[in-house]
Symmetry: C2
Subunit: 939 residues, 2 copies
C-alpha cells in the first residue's frame, strides 16, 4: 500500500511542479523580489492579508490560518514570512531582504495590539510567540515548532507577575530554552551520548534533589528556575555563547532555523523522492502563544469534524484540561473524548461546534483541527483536510453530496481508488489483532484477512478442506500445480515471489487473501515444518494473514466478510438495508456516469466471470486457457500431449482435451450473456505442466503407461535457462499448430452451442507473445480456417475477432505491421514490463527493496505501470496500430489493470478498456471514473 | 554460414526491389504494355536488340546472351520474350498480348536465316530450339530447360537425314518428349509411384529387351525410336491428349510453362523469402540448339575464366568430347580438364581463350561460362559472374586492380565480408576430410578446423593439455567455470546452445575453433562417454571439428594455420613473402582508406588485445571484467566476497581482488599503447561464480573455512527463475557499491601506474544494464569520486570517461535522460535482442529452426541484428542521446559487431565504432569499408 500511495503522491507532486514552474518562467526574474516594495510578511488575526488560495506563497499552514481568520474564527494573531524569503535566503548567501525586519516589526505591533501584550515586555504581559515552518505541502524532516519565544530572564518575571503563576512562567521558559537550544542552537546528543543533553540535565537534577525519577509536573517553580539556570550553562558550554536574550535575535534565529531546515538532508531526500523542487521554499509562521495549561478553565484538544474511522457525522476527538496541545498527543495523560467538553466547558464546546460547522461549510471537506482554550476563550490553532479510512471516505462523500456541500463528481474524487478494496475485504477485528503475535511481514498481495491451518502442499490442503478445515496454503512459491490447493484454501502464504508472482496473480483473480514473499519464513517440505526465527509451526497449526497489510500472525484470528461483497455476490436483500452497501452502489453509479474507459475482468471460470459481472465488469479481457488444464484429469491428457513424440500422438491427446475446453468456454459464454471474452491461446512453457519430483514422475509414468525415463528426458529437454524468454506463447503453436487448432475449435464449437440456445457469444481470440507479424499471420490463418469449418458444420454465423497480446517490445515497435492482421491489441503489461526493464518479476526480490530505497524506482513496476519506459512502448504501439487500423480495439490485461495510477494512464493514452482480476474491478472502475473527471476538469 | 548468406541476399534483394518499384511508379500504367507497338521479343545473334543493362526486361540470362552477342562472341541465335509478357500473362487471365505471336515469328525467321535451318522442317535441317526461363536474378524453383523443341515425327526424319545420324536424331526426340512431357504436360510421378513415369518406361524397356539395366548410350536408334513410341503412349494415357506435333504449339506451351512456373509454390516461397515482388516476372529465352554430341569433333564444357578455388589467373574448367552440356555436370562420364582441349581441338581452344579474355575485359569480373563445340565450331551458351572461395575472391580482386580492370573500391566490394574468416582460419586438408567420417553437425560458431582428444570437463582438459595432448573440450554447454578448459583446448564442442551461447562467444573472443549446439551428441558426464546414435566415444578419443561448416568428424584430421594469421601474429617476415599475405595487407589498406566506422575489439587480456591490434582494432570496445575473476586463485576471493554477510567481509575479499584487477588493467593499457579501452564493471549474476556440485561446494567450504551449508544456502538464495532478467549488471553494484568502488580503483590505479611509465591510458568506464538514469547517477558518482581520490593520491591527471551500455529497451527509450549523465553509449545488442524480442539466446534452440523454416525470422537474430525491431531501439537511443548530448560517443559491443550485415547497419545509423572479438576484426573492417563505399556510390 505504501508504495502505491507514494506513487500517487509523487504523481500529484509532479503535476503540481509543472504548472507553477511554467508560471514562474513567465514572471519577472527572481531578483525583482529584492525590491523594497515587496510584501514579505502577511498578517492574520483581526486584519488578515492572505487566504487559502495563497498556499504557494504562505505555505499550507499559513494559508489556512489566514483563511480561518478571514471567516471569523478565533485564531491567535500572527504573521507568515513568505516562501519568497526562503528563496531569497538561499539566493543571497543566507541573508534576508532589507525590508523584512521592518515588515516583521509592523506585524508584531499588530499582534501586540490585538493581544494587549508586548514582545519582550519586562512589565505587563509579554507577547510570546510560536514559530513554525510551513511549506506548500506538509513535509517531514523540516523544523517543527518553537514555543514560548520571547522569554528571557526579564520577561519571565513579567510573565510570572501577569499570570501570578511562577511555576507556569518558569516551566514555559524552561521549555523554550530546551526547544530553542536543541533546534536553533544545535545542542543535541553527540555520537557517544545516549540521552539528549537537556533531558540529561533534568534527569540528573531529579536524582540529585529527589533521589529518583519523578514526573515533570511534580517539579516546583524553583525546580524549573534551577533547570533554566542549568540549561543556560549547558548552552554556554556546548555553543561557547550565552543563550540569546533579545527576543528579536531569538525570532531571527528561529526563522533562520526554519529556512535552514529546508536544505537539511531529510528534507532534501523527501523532496527528491516526491519531485518537489527546491525553489518552492518554506514559509515561517509566527503566532501569538495561547496557553491551555493555565488552570482548570484552560485546555487543549485535537478533533475531526466527522469520525475519520467510520465516517459518522459526529464531532470526533479528544481534549485535556489544563494542558498544552503536545500533551494531548504525547500520551502521558489519557485525554477525554471531545464530547465530554460539553460538561466541563459548555460554552467553549458550543463555540467549537459552531467552528466545526463553519469549517466544513467553508472548506467543504472534513477538517482535522487543533484548538486551545485559555481561560475559557477558544482559539483555533490549525485546520487541514482530515485523513480517513476508506469506509469513512465513502460515507463522507455520499453524505456531503446529500448535504449539498459537494457535487457527485467531487464525491467520486474523494474516494481514494487504491483504498477501495479495504471496503470489500474481509477483516480481522482490530481488538483481536492487537492481542495476536505478528511473526513476519510479507507483501500484501490479495487484500483481506484469513485464518487457517497451514498446509504445505496442494493435495493435503485439498484433503484438509474436504475434512471441513480452514486451510492456509503455505509454500515457498506456488506454481500452476498448486491451483487446486489454492482453490481449497482460505488464504495463500508464500516465502518467495513479488506482488506479481504466480501466487499473487492467481489469488487476486480468485479473490483469495494472499501474503507473498514473506522472506522470514523457512519452509521444510519434507519435515512439514515452517520456521520463523526460533519458532516452529507444523502442518495443521493455525496462522492468520492480513493481505491488506502483509502481516502474518501466529494462531487463529476471526475474520468477517464485508457487507458490500456479501451484497454483491450473495445476499443482496439484506445488504440493501445497510448504509454501506447503499453508499457503495451510489458511488459506483456515479462512476458509471463519469467513465469513458471500460473495465473488463481476467477470468478463467464461469464463477469468476459471474463475480466480475456483479462487480461491474463489461466483459472478459483475459481468459488464460492454460489454467483450465489443471483441473481434474485434464492434466493427464495435457501431459500426454506434451510427451507425445508425433503429430498423431499429440492430436490424440488434444482430442481428449477438446471437450473439456469446449465445456469451459460454453460456461463462460453463458455467464457473459453476450458480453465479449478475450481468450488467450496456450501461453506458458510446457514444462510447467509436467511433474518435477521423481515420485510424481513415476506416478505419471504408471498412469500413461510409459517409461519414467521418457518423462525425465522430456522434462530435461524442456528445461530452460530463462523460461520467461523461451519456448512459450505463440511459439508453442507455431511449432505445434494442432494446439491452436484444438483451442480454436473448442472456442467456436462452444460459441455455436450457446448461440443455438439463443445466447450471443462474442469470443475474441488472442494470440500471445507476438513479436513478428508473420507469427500472427500463421496463427490467425488457423483460427479463421477452423471458424469457417465450424460455421459450415454447425450452420451458424459466428461473431468473433482475432488479435494479439502486445507483450514484448518488438511487438510494440512493429505494431503498424502487426495491426495489418490484428483486429485488436491487448497490452500484456506484466511481460512488457519484464522485457522492457529487463527484470523478471520473480527475481526482483533481491534488489527491488534497495531500488526503492535509492529512489531508482518510485513504485514496484509490476504493481504500477512504469509510465516513462513501458508507457512509451504502449503509446508507440497505440499510435502505430491506429495508423494502420484506425478502429483497432485497444485494451490492457494483466495486473496493472487493477492499479489506480495505471488505470489513469490507460485512460489518458486512450485505451478502450482495462482488464483486471474480478475483485479489483471496483477499484478500476473508480479509478477510471476519476481519470475522466480529472480530465474534464483540466480542460 | 547459410543464414548469413541468406540475410545478405535478402538485403540485396530488398534494395533491388525499392528502386525499380519507384521507377515503375513513374512509368505509364501497366495497361500501356498491351498496346500493339510494344516490343515483346528481343532477338540476339548476328543482330541483337538487347544488352547487359536490360536485366529487368530480359532477365539475367537473356541480357547476358544479348551482351555476348553484342561483343561478337559466337552465341547461337535466339530471342528473349520479355518479363512484361509475364506480367501481362497474369494480369490478363493467362493470355498473351496479341502481337506476341507475330513478333516471335519474326524472331524465329531471323534464327532460321542465321542458322540456315527451318523451324519444324520436314526437309533439310530443322531448327531446334532450347527454351529456358530467366528472371532478373537466377531463381530456384522455376522451370529450367526444354531442349530440342521443334521435333515431331516428321522433323525427326529430316534431322536424321540432315545429320545422317538416326541414333542422334531419335535420342534428341526421345529426350525432348521426356522433358516436355514432364515439365509442360505434367506427366510426373504420382504420390504412390516411386519412379518418374518416363524413367519407368525406359527401365521396363531395358529389362524387356536386354534382361538387365544397360547404360543409355548402349541403346540403339531403334531402341530410341521404340522409346519415343512408348513415351507418346504414356503421354496420351496420362494427359488424355496426344503429344503436340506443331512446333508452334510446342513453343507456346513451353513459354506458358515458364510463365506458369513463376507462380508455383517453390518460386513463391523463394520470392517471399527474399522479398522479390511478383511483378518482376520472368523472361523466356528461346535459343537455337547446337549439339556437342554429334561426334568426335563436337563437345561441351563449363569453365571459369580464372580458378575459383585459389584465384589463380588460369583458365579453369572441364569438357567432354561428343557430349551435351548436361553430360558434363551429370557425373556419368568423368570430364577432362579444359586445358586438354588444346590437344583435342586446338582451334576451338584458342578461340575459347580469346573468348575468355574478351569476357573478362568486358564484364570486368571472373565469368562462369558454358560452351558447346558443334563439329569444330564454338558456341557460347551462357555467361555469368563466377562463384568463388574467399581466397579466390581476394586474389581476383587484387589482380584485377593490377590489371586495371577495376578500381580499388570495387576490389573491396568484391570480397564477401562474411567469408573473410575463411582466409584466417586453420583448415583441414580437403582430401583428409573426404576420407573422414562425419558423425554430427552443429552450428559453426568459431571458424577453423581443430582436432583433439575429447575431454568432458575443464579440469581434466587442462591436465591433458599439460601432458602435451591436443584437447577438444566437449560439453553439453559451457559456463564461465569452463574458461580454463577452453583456454587449454584446441577447440570447443557443445551439444546445446546457439551461435551466441557462452561457448560460442568465448571461443570467438579467443579465436578458438568451436562447433556448438550439435544436438545429436549425448554426453554422459558421469561415465565420461559421448554417444552419437549407436557410436560411443570415450574420454581421450579423437574427434575433429570444422568450425566453419559445423561438421563433427570421428578421428583425427590434420589442420594447418592460415598464412595470414601466421603473418599478423607470429611470423611476419616469412608471411610477407607469400602472395596471400601481401594481398590481404593490400585489401585492409584499402579498407582503412574507405572506412568511416571504426572497429574495436572485445578483449579481456593483454594477449587478446595484442592480437586484435594486429588485426587492425583501434581500441577495446568491451572488456568483461568478470572473466578475470576466473583465473587462478582469484575465484576464491571472489567467492569469499559473495559469501560474506557483511560490508566488512565483502570489502576484505575485494581488497584481495584489487591487485589482480589492477595488474590486468595495467597489462591491457600497456598493450593498447594509448588506444581507448571500454571497461565494463561486473555484470553476470553472482551465482555464476559459485560452485554448483556438492563436491565442489565441500572443497570451497574447506578452502574458506566455512560451513558447506552456508554455501548451499547462498547458492539457493541466488537461484533465479530467469537469471537473464535478474540480479545482475549495475543492480549488483547498486546493492554492493563496494564492488564498483574496487573496480574503479583498480582501473584508475592501473592507469596512473602506466601513465607514470609514459604510456597513455584511456579507460572508458562502462556501467552495465542501465534502465534508469538514477542507476547511472549513483554508479557514476562512485567512479568520479574514486578517480579523484586516485588522482590526488598518485599525483596524476587521468583521462577517462563514464558511460553506459544500452542493453534493455528502457535504456534505449529513456536515452535522453540517461545521456545527461552518460558520456558514451555502447549498445549491448545481445541483451537488447533478448529483451526486445523476449527470446533468451540460450533457449531459442527449441523453436528457432521452425521460425526460420516458417520464414518468421530470416536470420538468427543473435547472429545478425534484427534491424526492424532491435534496430528501431538503437535508432531511438541514438536520436534521443544526441538530442541531450550532441557529441555523445556511440558504439556497439557484443557479437553483432562482427556480422557484416550488422556492421553495415551500424555504419548507416551513424555509430562511431563497432566492437567484436579479435578474430572478427578483419571481417568487421571489411564490412565497414564496404558500407562506406556503398554509401558513397548510392549518392
Amino acid at each position: 500500500m505504501a508504495s502505491k500511495k507514494t506513487a500517487k503522491r509523487a504523481t500529484a507532486a509532479k503535476k503540481a511542479v509543472r504548472k507553477p514552474a511554467k508560471k514562474a518562467a513567465k514572471k519577472a526574474p527572481r531578483k525583482a523580489a529584492a525590491k523594497k516594495n515587496v510584501k514579505y510578511v502577511y498578517s492574520f488575526g483581526q486584519k488578515t492579508d492572505g487566504d487559502a488560495t495563497m498556499r504557494n506563497l504562505l505555505g499550507g499552514k499559513g494559508a489556512n490560518l489566514a483563511e480561518m481568520a478571514n471567516i471569523g474564527l478565533p485564531v491567535p494573531p500572527g504573521f507568515t514570512v513568505t516562501t519568497e524569503v526562503c528563496t531569497y535566503f538561499y539566493d543571497n548567501g543566507r541573508t534576508y531582504p532589507e525590508s523584512l525586519q521592518s515588515q516583521m516589526e509592523t506585524a508584531i505591533a499588530k499582534m501586540e495590539k490585538e493581544m494587549g501584550t508586548k514582545f519582550g515586555a519586562t512589565d505587563g504581559m509579554p507577547l510570546l510567540v510560536a514559530v513554525r515552518s510551513g511549506a506548500r505541502d506538509s513535509m517531514p524532516g523540516m523544523m517543527d515548532t518553537i514555543l514560548n519565544l520571547g522569554l528571557n530572564d526579564d520577561s519571565v518575571e513579567a510573565l510570572t507577575k501577569a499570570t501570578d503563576n511562577p511555576r507556569f512562567a518558569w516551566d514555559c521558559y524552561r521549555r523554550f530554552i530546551q526547544m530553542y537550544g536543541d533546534v536553533v542552537l544545535g545542542v543535541q546528543a553527540g555520537p557517544d551520548e545516549d540521552i539528549e543533553p537537556f533531558e540529561g540535565v533534568i534527569e540528573g537534577f531529579k536524582h540529585e534533589k529527589y533521589g529518583k525519577d519523578v514526573i515533570d509536573s511534580s517539579l516546583t517553580a524553583e525546580d524549573q528556575q534551577e533547570l533554566v539556570k542549568r540549561f543556560k550553562e549547558l548552552v554556554k558550554v556546548r555553543t561557547g555563547k550565552g543563550f540569546p536574550t533579545d527576543p528579536w535575535e531569538q525570532l531571527r534565529g528561529a526563522a533562520g532555523a526554519v529556512f535552514g531546515s529546508w536544505m537539511n538532508d531529510r528534507a532534501m531526500v523527501y523532496r527528491q523522492k516526491y519531485g518537489i523542487p527546491a525553489e518552492w521554499g518554506t514559509a515561517v509562521n509566527v503566532q501569538a502563544m495561547v496557553f491551555g495549561n493555565t488552570g482548570e478553565t484552560s485546555g487543549s484538544g485535537v478533533a475531526f469534524t466527522r469520525n475519520p474511522a467510520n465516517g459518522e457525522n459526529e464531532f470526533y476527538g479528544e481534549f485535556l484540561v489544563n494542558a498544552q496541545g503536545e500533551d494531548v498527543v504525547a500520551g502521558v495523560r489519557t485525554p477525554n473524548p471531545v464530547a465530554e467538553l460539553q460538561e466541563v466547558m459548555p460554552k467553549s464546546y458550543k463555540e467549537l461546534l459552531q467552528v466545526r460547522k463553519k469549517l466544513e461549510k467553508h472548506f467543504k471537506d472534513v477538517q482535522d483541527v487543533e484548538f486551545t482554550i485559555q481561560e475559557g476563550k477558544l482559539y483555533m490553532l490549525q485546520t487541514r483536510n482530515g485523513k480517513r479510512t476508506a469506509a469513512a471516505a465513502l460515507k463522507f462523500s455520499i453524505d456531503m453530496v446529500k448535504e449539498r456541500l459537494i457535487n457527485w463528481e467531487t464525491a467520486v474524487l474523494r474516494n481514494p481508488a487504491d483504498q477501495l478494496d479495504q471496503l470489500l475485504a474481509p477483516i480481522f477485528d482490530l481488538a483481536d489483532v492487537k492481542k495476536a503475535k505478528q511473526i513476519a511481514t510479507g507483501l500484501p498481495a490479495g487484500p483481506g484477512a484469513a485464518s487457517g491451518k497451514i498446509y504445505f502442499n496442494a493435495e493435503r490442503a485439498v484433503d484438509a478442506e474436504a475434512r471441513g478445515e480452514k486451510v492456509l496454503l503455505t509454500r515457498v512459491e506456488t506454481s500452476p500445480e498448486d491451483l487446486r490447493g489454492m482453490i481449497a484454501a482460505e488464504g495463500i502464504l508464500t516465502a518467495r515471489g513479488g506482488v506479481s508472482s504466480h501466487a499473487a496473480l492467481v489469488a487476486r483473480q480468485m479473490g483469495k487473501v494472499c501474503v507473498c514473499g514473506a522472506a522470514e519464513l523457512q519452509i521444510d517440505y519434507d519435515k512439514k515444518i515452517l520456521t520463523v526465527g526460533k519458532q516452529k509451526f507444523k502442518e495443521g497449526d493455525y496462522l492468520s494473514i492480513d493481505g491488506t497489510s502483509g502481516a502474518v500472525y501466529a494462531g487463529e484470528i476471526k475474520a468477517a466478510p464485508s457487507e458490500i461483497i456479501d451484497g454483491l455476490l450473495n445476499n443482496k436483500k439484506a445488504a440493501q438495508k445497510t448504509e454501506k452497501y447503499q453508499n457503495y452502489v451510489k458511488l459506483m453509479g456515479w462512476c458509471e456516469k463519469a467513465t469513458r474507459l471500460q473495465v473488463r475482468t481476467n477470468a478463467d471460470t464461469p464463477a469468476q466471470t459471474k463475480n466480475a459481472i456483479a462487480f461491474g465488469a463489461v466483459g472478459i479481457g483475459l481468459t488464460r486457457t492454460e489454467h483450465m488444464f489443471f483441473e481434474g484429469d485434464r492434466i493427464d491428457a495435457m501431459r500426454q500431449m506434451i510427451l507425445a513424440d508425433s503429430l498423431e500422438g499429440r492430436q490424440k491427446a488434444l482430442k481428449k482435451l477438446l471437450p473439456y475446453q469446449r465445456k469451459d468456454f460454453a460456461g463462460i459464454f453463458r455467464s457473459l450473456k453476450g458480453l465479449p471474452a478475450t481468450i488467450r491461446l496456450l501461453d506458458p512453457p510446457l514444462h510447467e505442466f509436467l511433474p518435477h519430483t521423481k515420485e510424481q514422475q513415476m506416478d505419471l509414468a504408471r498412469t500413461l503407461g510409459i517409461k519414467v525415463e521418457t518423462i525425465m528426458q522430456r522434462v530435461a529437454d524442456l528445461h530452460e535457462f530463462n523460461p520467461m524468454l523461451g519456448f512459450r506463447g505463440c511459439r508453442l503453436a507455431i511449432s505445434y499448430p494442432e494446439i491452436a487448432e484444438m483451442q480454436a475449435r473448442a472456442i467456436f464449437e462452444a460459441a455455436a452451442q450457446v448461440e443455438k440456445k439463443g445466447i450471443k457469444a462474442r469470443p475474441e481470440v488472442m494470440i500471445p507473445l507476438v513479436g513478428f507479424k508473420k507469427e500472427l499471420d500463421i496463427q490467425t490463418a488457423i483460427v479463421h480456417r477452423v471458424a469457417k469449418e465450424v460455421e459450415e458444420k454447425k450452420g451458424v454465423k459466428l461473431t468473433y475477432s482475432v488479435g494479439t497480446m502486445i507483450e514484448v517490445p518488438r511487438g510494440a515497435l512493429t505494431a503498424d505491421e502487426i495491426a495489418e492482421t490484428a483486429q485488436f491489441f491487448s497490452f500484456g503489461t506484466n511481460d512488457l514490463t519484464q522485457t522492457c526493464l529487463g527484470m523478471s518479476r520473480d527475481d526482483t526480490g533481491s534488489f527491488l527493496g534497495k531500488y526503492q530505497e535509492e529512489e531508482i524506482l518510485s513504485a514496484n513496476p509490476f504493481a504500477s505501470i512504469d509510465q516513462t519506459g513501458v508507457g512509451q512502448l504502449v503509446e508507440t504501439a497505440i499510435e502505430k496500430g491506429r495508423k494502420t487500423r484506425p478502429d483497432i480495439k485497444l485494451g490492457i490485461c494483466g495486473e496493472h489493470g487493477g492499479d489506480p495510477a495505471s488505470v489513469k494512464f490507460c485512460h489518458n493514452v486512450g485505451l478502450a478498456y482495462v482488464s483486471c482480476s474480478p475483485f479489483r474491478v471496483p477499484v478500476a472502475r473508480l479509478a477510471a471514473a476519476q481519470a475522466a473527471i480529472e480530465e474534464k476538469r483540466a480542460k
